[in-house]
């Protein structure tokens, strides 16, 4: 099943003098997991709040399956804000069911869905506990249950992995994969880039309220200069005069060279062999961390 598609186009927003969004544009398709990355203050939260109708952007459009998002559409969205918040004195089952009902479930369906999610997240035995009685990690799970309880077609999760232990990270990852497989569009932000890399088909990098890059990891890598690692039993001086290649770093693992497009790498291999015995010669696969650093610093 493929559900709707979220389209964010040309969002502009200022808080007084501060420009928060400066033309943010990207889309999240049904069944797709998109990671939103960028430094603090880059505009991730304001973008997500605009989608949820909490911030009303000065300009631009947020569309769901081609039409402007209205209040009725938002009932099909699930949201987990960066700053978590639920009623501390409310019992878990009642609380989750309440949010399900706010999203249009009738009382019986809401109660059933609340029980299902509490069971799935390992809180089945604590349905009558008040939220405040739970550990931080368990409160996070309840927050996730609130975002998921009404089977949303779009999930907007602001830093969902922050503060989770590795086990909880795995459990949340499984849930996201599962929802995406069921056709849900998933947009989440994170500073944990290796997680984003593992979970997302597509990554959107924002900086100063603008989209710096938007694409699959392979597409982003294509925009990143290739890097060649060469280890030679000789000092790295041989690499200083190479054409079309600059030394990025030198360490015990040899020399890391940034290669200009179109450079003859076989020439580099010959230069290395001339300098001494070659122990290692190969391209490095840039991770999202490298891509991100490269793009944000560029």
């Amino acid at each position: 099943m493929k559900t709707g598609e979220l389209q964010i186009s040309d969002l502009h927003h200022r808080f007084g003098e501060l420009v928060a969004l400066d033309g943010v544009t990207f889309a999240v398709g049904g069944g797709e997991i998109v990671g939103l990355v960028g430094r603090n203050g880059a505009g991730k939260t304001t973008t997500m709040r605009s989608v949820m109708g909490i911030v009303h952007p000065d300009r631009g459009a947020v569309k769901w399956s081609g039409h402007d998002v209205g209040q009725a559409d938002r009932l099909k969205f699930g949201y987990m804000p960066e700053e978590r918040g639920l009623y501390p004195q409310m019992r878990l089952a009642e609380q989750i069911a309440y949010f399900a009902r706010l999203h249009g479930f009738d009382a019986a369906t809401a109660a059933g869905a609340a029980r299902t999610w509490l069971d799935r997240l390992g809180l089945g035995g604590r349905t009558a506990d008040k939220l405040v009685a739970l550990s931080h990690g368990n409160q996070q799970r309840v927050q996730l249950a609130v975002a998921l309880v009404h089977d949303p077609e779009l999930l907007v999760l602001d830093e969902p992995f922050a503060g989770l232990d590795p086990e909880a990270v795995d459990s949340l990852s499984r849930v996201l994969f599962e929802r995406a497989a069921a056709g849900t569009a998933v947009l989440f932000s994170s500073h944990q880039l290796e997680l984003v890399e593992r979970l997302c088909r597509r990554v959107v990098i924002v900086e100063s309220g603008r989209v710096l890059a938007d694409g699959t990891l392979a597409e982003l890598r294509a925009r990143f200069p290739a890097q060649l690692r060469v280890k030679v039993g000789a000092p790295p001086d041989w690499a200083r005069r190479l054409e079309g290649a600059q030394i990025a770093s030198v360490d015990d693992e040899g020399v890391l060279l940034t290669i200009d497009p179109g450079t003859d790498t076989q020439g580099i291999l010959r230069a290395a062999q001339a300098a001494g015995p070659v122990e290692h010669f190969g391209f490095e696969t840039a991770g999202l961390v490298d891509l991100y650093r490269h793009m944000v610093s560029a």
Binding site: H12, H13, R14, F15, G16, D22, G23, R49, M52, G53, I54, V55, H56, D58, R59, Q71, R74, L75, F77, Y79, M80, P81, E83, R84, G85, L86, Y87, P88, Q89, M90, Y98, F99, R101, L102, H103, G104, Q143, V146, V156
Partner: protein, 407 residues
């Protein structure tokens, strides 16, 4: 689900949460008890106002008995008269509490003996009785024929004509006005603060942002106000019922007709006043950065409520003063002052629809203003805001000037 359903859900949650709290149950019982006690206790005190027991010592004093009883009846004071043989016995009875007053009459003077003090009315009754007997004896000794004495001493009828008579149940009306104003003050301050606290809780616990992802600020706000308002109305109804039951138990206390009119008036005024104040309290509660600031930021509203309560005493003092009439139309004061004026019976028929219109317009204005402040302040995570700053937050949402993209 339609949007009304959402406001209703929010209101239901408020009511459920409040009914689960122990404090509200205690408060409801205490309020009901206080109201019942307010009716029961005065009536018990009243029924214990026993007649003053007067002991007449010796034959001269005992001869005063008929005169004394007549004078006391004229002064609307209840007395019982006992004849006591001598001073010693009378003194012992007074000290033992069997008598309130002992009267000893000598040839040219009289003495009143009491344990601690004597009620001035009783003292006047005694004085006048002794005087009249003394005059009668003097006239007889002076040779006036005995048959002429009663007519010489017959009282001259004095009629009192009140030029502006108060209504017959004036005291009851004043008491009703004060009670209504006090109840209004306490309940508006109590439930208003509950609204502010609830809003601040949702803001500081960040629940508001999760909620606003699904529902509109106006739905959240009105659901909260309705939920807390209905809880308050329920509590007031229980208190009113306790009062009526207490009254039924004490048959002697008559509720004047004006008070019956006052109950529906009071409930309507409570709803109007609560709506006006609750929205102000809600917007104010949204301004805080920390829960503890609620008390401080809502203080001006609390003071305004206190002033509106205290002004009721001015209304009772001079219900016809022009300034009293004018201020009772000032919306923040209407909910307290109008029931008081109605209780006192000083409201012209045209005044009520006018007051209702002004109140309705100000409620409308307050809802608009408060909703805007509320919606802006609720998701603002910085330091405490002022109303003005919260309004300006929304001005920052006006479209930004279109600029060329920096290259």
């Amino acid at each position: 689900m339609n949007r009304k359903g959402i406001t209703r859900l929010v209101a239901e949650r408020e009511i459920t949460e409040r009914l689960q709290g122990r404090l509200i149950r205690i408060m409801t019982v205490v309020t009901a008890l206080v109201v019942a006690a307010g009716i029961l206790v005065p009536s018990l005190i009243k029924s214990s106002s026993a007649p003053t027991r007067i002991g007449l010592v010796g034959s001269s004093a005992q001869a005063l008995a008929p005169t004394l009883e007549r004078t006391a009846a004229a002064a609307k004071t209840k007395v019982t008269v006992t004849k006591i043989p001598d001073d010693e016995a009378a003194r012992a009875d007074v000290l033992a509490g069997k008598l309130d007053v002992a009267l000893i009459v000598g040839p040219s003077s009289a003495r009143v003996e009491v344990k601690k003090s004597v009620n001035p009315t009783i003292r006047a009754v005694l004085q006048s009785s002794v005087d009249s007997v003394h005059v009668r004896q003097a006239l007889a000794q002076a040779g006036l024929p005995v048959s002429k004495v009663p007519s010489a001493l017959a009282p001259v009828a004095v009629t009192t004509v009140a030029l502006k008579p108060p209504p017959p149940d004036q005291t009851a009306r004043s008491v009703a006005a004060i009670a209504a104003a006090l109840l209004m003050y306490v309940s508006l301050a109590l439930y208003g603060t509950a609204v502010a606290t609830g809003v601040a809780q949702e803001k500081t616990s960040r629940t508001a942002e999760v909620l606003l992802g699904a529902i509109r600020p106006s739905e959240l706000l009105s659901g909260k106000v309705i939920g807390i308002g209905l809880t308050g109305l329920g509590q007031l109804t229980i208190a009113a019922a306790a009062g009526l039951i207490a009254n039924a138990l004490v048959h002697s206390t008559k509720i004047p007709g004006s008070v019956w009119v006052l109950i529906p008036t009071f409930l309507i005024c409570f709803l109007a006043g609560f709506t006006l104040y609750a929205f102000a309290y809600a917007a104010t509660g949204a301004l805080v950065a920390r829960q503890e600031e609620v008390q401080f930021v809502t203080m001006p509203i609390g003071l305004l409520l206190l002033v509106s309560y205290l002004l009721v005493y001015a209304v009772i003092g001079s219900p016809d003063a022009t300034w009293v009439k004018v201020v009772s139309f000032f919306p923040p004061l209407t909910a307290s002052l109008m029931p008081a004026r109605i209780a006192l019976g000083h409201v012209a028929p045209w005044e009520l629809p006018l007051a209702a219109l002004i109140m309705a317009l100000s409620i409308w204005g307050m809802i608009r203003l408060a909703s805007r402040v509320y919606a802006n302040a609720l998701i603002y995570s910085g330091a405490r805001l002022s109303w003005k700053a919260a309004m300006q937050l929304s001005e920052a949402r006006e479209p930004a000037p279109i600029r060329p993209y920096p290259s």
